[in-house]
């Protein structure tokens, strides 16, 4: 019994370390795709902790949902991070001191609140049928909440389709979906093949894929960021 509990503790601390470390690396890594998958790793660690907390459904559902979300995230990353595989070095941060301070303050404040305030202690029973209870709850008393969440998701889907559709209230999107100009409304980067190209990849790609075109604007953004 005793060593079992200690085993759980070990697992918990390991998962917690993974969650926090990967959560930190998200903002410290170069490639945005890596960042999104690090975030996925952090989510999966938290999901593991939930499994330890005897909430199997929530934990597994977290893994499931976040894998999909982060997959989509990664695709968008590459779309907006402008270099074909999102592999170039990049650091795009601002108001760094404020951000660090805020993060630290939030962490310290919350931890202080946790440590100072009296916490409830009613652990969940060992034989608690969490999934069954959740199902009864969702389709019973809290049906309205659950349904309204579903309706909210539906409307979000519709809204996002309207917002991002090729031709909608924002007019035909094709002009906008052409690669951005180096200056506002200017010629798209890469439309004129420039010689001093020093990033490793993409020599062949410059003329093969539209992904190559935004490649240089990433450089522009980097300059903007630093």
């Amino acid at each position: 019994m005793n060593d079992l509990i200690s085993g759980i503790d070990i697992a918990f601390w390991a998962l917690a370390a993974i969650a926090v470390l990967s959560g930190w690396r998200v903002f410290a890594t170069d490639s945005m795709v890596r960042a999104s998958f690090l975030l996925l790793l952090s989510f999966m660690a938290v999901a593991g902790i939930m499994l330890l907390l005897a909430a199997p459904y929530i934990g597994v559902a977290t893994i499931f949902m976040m894998a999909v979300e982060m997959m989509v995230m990664a695709v968008f990353m590459v779309m907006f991070m402008m270099n074909p595989a999102g592999l170039n070095p990049m650091s795009m941060v601002h108001q760094q001191p404020l951000a660090i301070g805020a993060g630290v303050v939030a962490f310290i404040g919350l931890s202080a609140a946790v440590l100072t305030s009296p916490l409830p202690d009613q652990p969940v029973a060992a034989d608690h049928r969490a999934i069954h209870a959740l199902g009864i709850e969702m389709l019973g008393d809290s049906m309205l909440i659950f349904e309204s969440a579903g309706v909210a998701l539906l409307s979000a889907m519709i809204g996002s389709v309207i917002l991002s559709s090729r031709s909608g209230r924002f007019g035909p999107a094709d002009p906008g979906s052409r690669p951005p100009g180096l200056c506002e409304g200017g010629l798209p980067a890469g439309s004129v093949p420039d010689e001093n190209k020093n990033h490793g990849m993409g020599h062949g790609m410059q003329h093969d894929t539209p992904n190559a075109a935004p490649q240089d604007t990433h450089g522009a953004h980097g300059a903007q960021g630093s």
């Binding site: 108001q95 404020l98 049906m143």
Partner: protein, 668 residues
């Protein structure tokens, strides 16, 4: 099981949309079969005594049941929709035809649901779907930018009325813990009053009564078949039907009867005048719809829902007939202007049908419409002769505009050769139109049987409703008014064919300027409110930082000016004064004190210069220093407003921290 009545048309519509059928014939066949099956189901349902009950959750249940009256209406819907859909399948534009038919079928299904509903929840579902379908149908030709606007206008206006039905449902549930009609009896007076007037509000809005009438005109943006169905059997009919269905429970509410009769008779009179002065072939009919539903309202208010439903049936047939005739006329003459038609010789058969329809609209005996209208007049006898008089006048008006309409649209003018851009229907199309017109005309003629007392009694017993007592005097007056109105209408048609195209009359003919009034009282204030708040945001909110800055700058300039004018003057005057004094002394005695005075002069002059310099320094510092500080502060305050989201986040964070600090302090 009773749900079939509602599901069958909807399923047929879905089938149409799913199966990519394009041939007009096939479309008409499928839609017709679906509706015919629905029509055939009604007697089955009545005989077998079908009911429907769907337990939604512990407390909510959807119920459906047929009373004799609702069975009659449930049969009316497919009976009218069948010819209309055949017409639509053959005569409407090919673009979006399948969508049109599918939506029309769904429309019928929703109406059937509304008819068979036995509780307010089911009713609401049908009600909403009917409204949504009407929006989609009015905006059917959405490529013309005006149509969607009209659809939105109609939709919003009816939506506003729907709130009444929601109020009614909530109040019923709050009062009795159930939505069922039967439980309305258990309601206490206040709740029941809310239910009653909520229902009246929504019924009035759906049936295009005053003040909601204008949406019926905007609804004319839809295709002809849509107008025909919408006015005859589905959308507009819902209001009157709802009142007739709920009348037994709502009648006890004090003021219910009066309100309904007042709305109805006002609409009947106003609508009659509007229809008489209109020059648009469809809008005449639209206004007449409002007027005739006004009559039904009066009947319900007077306590004879049976009569109202009978008139609903008669009106359904002849109004659909008239709309389809108008459609044919529009196709033929390529325009909506009544004055440019006179198609009697061009389309003799259609003209005959239109004459039948117009006769029933006018209330000329021995047609069914006439009897139901006179029955309504007789029904008001108990309520007081004032009502009866109003209705008799309204009947005369309806005779007038009916005769004027048919005379202008299908009178025997010279056979006008159709202008080139109008595409004449193919023989099959003409045949289909004739068939559907014939169906409706035959139904209108068959209803003449109502004049036979035996038929009437039998009907009353089967419908288990009470018919008002005959009153020969009222009958005579009504018939007289009709005759008078008919002659007036003919005279108007012959002598003033272009009536309703002048400014003033057109204004009256557009519901007495009611739309303008609505714009003025509802739309404009809303828009003004929106603009005002936007303005407040731009000026008031953003003003603060700018104001601070301006104040600072102004202060700086002002103090600088004071300092230049006033302060600098003092030392200067002192210097000149001393020099003047020195000159005087020098003139007094020449050389003696000359040198000393010279020194004095020099000293005083230096003093003056010095003081002026110091004074300049001090005064400027005192005045402009704070001013500059203030202005800097103002500029900084303005710089905070960058519009960059991360700055907004930072500000948000700081605010949150401040809030947390405050809360923490309070907790201590």
């Amino acid at each position: 099981m009773l749900w079939l009545l509602a599901l069958l048309p909807a399923a047929t519509g879905a089938l149409l949309l799913a199966s990519g059928v394009q041939r007009r014939g096939t479309l008409a066949l499928i839609a017709g079969l679906g509706l015919a099956a629905t029509l055939a189901l009604v007697p089955v349902a009545v005989v077998a005594g079908w009911t429907g009950r769907l337990q939604w959750s512990g407390t909510l249940a959807l119920q459906a049941a047929l009373t004799p009256l609702s069975a009659l209406v449930a049969a009316l819907v497919p009976a009218v929709a069948l010819p209309v859909l055949v017409y639509a399948a053959y005569r409407e534009r090919a673009t979006g035809l399948v969508r049109l038919l599918g939506l029309l079928l769904l429309f019928c299904g929703a109406m059937e649901l509304l008819v068979i509903a036995d509780d307010l929840l089911t009713l609401l579902i049908g009600w909403e779907v009917v409204g949504a379908c009407s929006w989609a149908l009015i905006a059917h030709h959405w490529r013309e930018a005006e149509n969607p606007r009209s659809a939105r206008y109609a939709f919003v206006m009816t939506r506003f009325g729907d709130t009444g039905l929601f109020l009614a449902a909530m109040s019923a549930y709050a009062g009795s813990g159930s939505f069922a009609y039967a439980d309305l009896a258990r309601l206490d007076a206040p709740h029941l009053a809310v239910v009653a007037f909520g229902v009246v509000l929504s019924a009035a809005s759906k049936s295009g009564q005053i003040p909601f009438s204008p949406w019926l005109f905007r609804a004319m943006a839809g295709p002809v078949s849509v107008s025909a169905l919408l006015h005859a059997a589905t959308m507009v009919a819902a209001g009157a039907y709802l009142l007739a269905r709920l009348q037994p429970w709502l009648a006890p509410v004090s003021g219910f009867g009066f309100a309904v009769m007042a709305i109805g008779s006002a609409t009947a009179l106003a609508g009659g005048v509007v229809a008489l002065l209109q020059s648009d072939v469809k809008k005449v009919l639209a206004a007449s719809t409002s007027a005739h539903f006004g009559l039904m309202f009066v009947a319900v208010g007077a306590g004879f829902p049976g009569v109202a439903v009978l008139h609903l049936v008669a009106h359904g047939f002849f109004k659909a007939l008239l709309f389809l005739c108008a459609g044919v006329a529009i196709d033929q003459s390529g325009g909506h202007a009544l004055s440019a038609m006179r198609l009697g010789r061009t389309l003799p058969a259609v003209a005959v049908m239109a004459a039948i329809g117009a006769a029933s609209l006018a209330g000329l005996p021995p047609l069914g419409g006439a009897w139901t209208k006179d029955a309504i007049v007789a029904a008001t006898a108990g309520a007081g002769l004032g009502w009866s008089g109003a209705l008799i006048v309204a009947g005369g008006l309806s005779a007038a505009y009916a005769v004027r309409w048919v005379w202008l649209a299908f009178g025997l003018g010279q056979a006008s050769p159709p202008d080139k851009q109008v595409s004449l229907p193919t023989p099959t199309q003409a045949m289909a139109a004739a068939a559907s017109l014939g169906w409706l005309a035959a139904a209108s003629v068959l209803l003449s049987a109502l004049w036979l007392p035996a038929v009437r009694e039998h009907l009353a017993s089967t419908l288990s409703t009470t018919l008002p007592p005959e009153s020969s005097a009222l009958m005579g007056a009504a018939v007289g008014a009709v005759a008078l109105g008919a002659f007036t209408g003919r005279w108007l048609a012959v002598s003033k064919p272009t009536l309703g195209q002048g400014e003033r009359i057109a204004a009256v003919a557009d519901w007495w300027g009611l739309p303008a009034l609505i714009d003025l009282t509802v739309v404009a204030p809303m828009a003004a409110l929106a603009r005002a708040s936007a303005w407040a945001d731009d000026t008031v909110i953003d003003a603060m930082p700018r104001a601070v800055k301006r104040a600072g700058q102004w202060l700086a300039h002002a103090s600088a000016r004071i300092d230049d004018t006033a302060l600098d003057a003092m030392p200067g005057t002192a210097r000149s004064a001393s020099q003047w004094l020195a000159a005087r002394l020098a003139k007094e005695d020449g050389r003696v004190v000359d040198r000393g005075v010279g020194l004095t002069t020099a000293f005083v002059g230096w003093l003056g210069r010095a003081t002026s310099g110091i004074g300049e320094l001090v005064a400027d510092g005192v005045a402009s220093g704070p001013a500059q500080l203030v202005s800097l502060g103002g500029q900084d305050a303005q710089r905070l407003q960058t519009g960059l989201s991360h700055h907004a986040f930072a500000a948000l964070l700081l605010g949150t921290l401040a809030l947390g600090a405050v809360l923490f302090a309070i907790r201590l």
